[in-house]
């Protein structure tokens, strides 16, 4: 039997991740300095880890409700209300998932029919396009430009809307660009959407990580809640990436459809992670999310160090207002993003991610994460500076 020929067409036609190649080279190399990581360098706060250890000692090792533990859903509902002014009923409008990634997949599979189109801002997170295609639908990129600070603009959006458009993925604060959408930016998008039957899948995993202004959810705008699925999780705000815990909040009909898939494919998110998440939120309510605020403060300082560093070595970069990425332009080197990243890795042992891994509009840019110590950031910038001196 030719096993390769057994792989489904829709799986075969999705190209492998643009990051994979660099990962393979970089992870074999000695002395690599990386700015390539899309996760916090903070370890999960000890009170959260300790709560999980205690739950294991008590023997909490069973399944939970498909929707997630009622106590956790209540806490999430309260959290969304307090931090972002979003009101969701914990009984039927919130589902706890295995990472925000699962929530995105569920939301897409719950609504997509073959031939449906899903609009995805470009550049953005690597998983959206493959998830749409695995769900049997068509991914349509909507270009975001540096001159718009990589925000989604209503005119670019409108150009791509067709009668087949079923959903828009709205990933802000954005990985890889660090762009955010202000209230006014979102209102302009909402004005386009209100005239349509388009569902918004709003991936707000970086919502806590904004600098200088609070995150605004499109679901908080008039008449937008019903058509929006808000997706969030504990990975970025609470430094809990490996726990794989996310959630979706939205209209009961959408959430029940998502739970239907979730219960037959995953059953429930791991109870250990759910218990830990309850503690993360409990402590947050108690101390005003002091550990989140602390991390944001640290990221903000590193962000300034990185933007300043890149400008000093002559790399043009706009000031990102969210997430923990800087997205400088390398166009003046005349190299493609991939070429630049590969040569930088070989020559200076610095690992960054080519912008093209996040879509065609990422060409000419590199993604640099500042989820690292300041010393690490300074050393990496010094090496990138040396590299530029050599090639320019």
């Amino acid at each position: 039997m030719n096993v390769e020929s057994m792989i489904a067409e829709r799986v075969k036609e999705v190209p492998p991740s643009g990051i994979r190649k660099f990962f393979d080279i970089a992870s074999e190399m000695e002395g690599v300095i990386s700015l390539g990581v899309g996760e916090p360098d903070f370890v999960t706060p000890w009170n959260v880890r300790e709560a999980c250890i205690y739950s294991l000692e008590k023997g909490m090792t069973c399944y939970t409700s498909n929707w997630g533990m009622p106590e956790l859903r209540k806490a999430i509902s309260c959290y969304l209300s307090r931090r972002f002014g979003l009101e969701y009923n914990p009984k039927n409008e919130i589902v706890v998932t295995v990472g925000a990634s699962e929530a995105i997949d569920l939301a897409l599979r719950a609504i997509l029919n073959p031939e449906d189109e899903v609009l995805i801002p470009d550049p953005s997170y690597v998983a959206y396009m493959p998830c749409v295609r695995f769900a049997g639908a068509k991914a349509v990129a909507v270009e975001c430009r540096p001159e718009d600070e990589f925000r989604l603009t209503p005119d670019k959006l409108e150009q791509k809307i067709t009668p087949k458009t079923k959903a828009l993925i709205l990933p802000y604060p954005n990985n890889p660009t660090g762009a955010i959408m202000t209230h006014d930016d979102l209102e302009a998008i909402a004005q386009v959407l209100r005239r349509t039957d388009i569902i918004v899948i709003s991936d707000e995993i970086y919502a806590e990580l904004t600098y200088g202004q609070r995150h605004v959810s499109i679901a908080s705008l008039p008449d937008m809640k019903e058509r929006t699925v808000v997706i969030n999780g504990f990975s970025k705000a609470f430094a809990m990436t490996g726990w794989r815990l996310g959630y979706a909040a939205g209209h009961p009909a959408l959430i029940s459809a998502m739970v239907k898939i979730h219960q037959y494919t995953t059953l429930c998110a791991p109870i250990m992670a759910q218990v830990a998440a309850i503690e993360a939120l409990r402590k947050g309510f108690e101390d005003g999310f002091a550990s989140v605020e602390y991390m944001v403060k640290q990221y903000n300082m590193r962000r300034k160090v990185m933007v300043n560093g890149f400008r000093e070595i002559g790399l043009e970069c706009y000031e990102p207002k969210g997430a923990f990425y800087v997205f400088p332009s390398i166009k003046k080197t005349g190299m493609t993003s991939e070429e630049f990243c590969e040569k930088l890795l070989m020559d200076q042992k610095v690992a960054v991610v080519p912008g093209t891994a996040f879509g065609a509009s990422g060409e000419g840019f590199i993604r640099c994460s500042y989820a690292y110590s300041i010393d690490n950031i300074n050393e990496a910038i010094k090496r990138i500076g040396n590299f530029l001196k050599k090639i320019l």
């Binding site: 992870s27 390539g36 990581v37 360098d41 590193r302 160090v305 991610v353």
Partner: protein, 160 residues
Amino acid sequence: MVNEILEILNEDSRRTPEEIAVMLGTDVETVKQKIEELEKNKVIVKYNTIVNWDKTDREYVTALIEVKVTPQRDQGFDAIAERIYKFPEVKSVYLMSGDYDLAVMIEGRTMKEVAFFVAEKLSVLDSVLSTATHFVLKKYKVDGVILEDEEKDYRQVIVP
């Protein structure tokens, strides 16, 4: 901004005014001026280094002495605290609530040296009623810094 400067320096006192200015998005002159003021007002008392002496060949012992004292009229605990903290062997002195009054950290080369110091200098002071000496066996965390086995970075080199 003053608290932010202090937080940065408290974390790493080697940060230069230039670096701090970038981190806080302000100009170097302002940072320099603030630091000067903080030094002058003794908000910044000293810049020092956290050393794990256990990793060196230096012989030393640390002890925590619980001291019960009689407070003095008009001066409360301050006068007796001053008598005690002026000894160079004394590394820190805190006024405490609870069973005893002063927590005194003492460092010496040997246990004998510390014991003699307590017997000859500390317990003989007029207002000292009693002392209890506890020797430190191992330091795990000092001033918020874990001395050994700090958690390492388990992250992969590149993650989307």
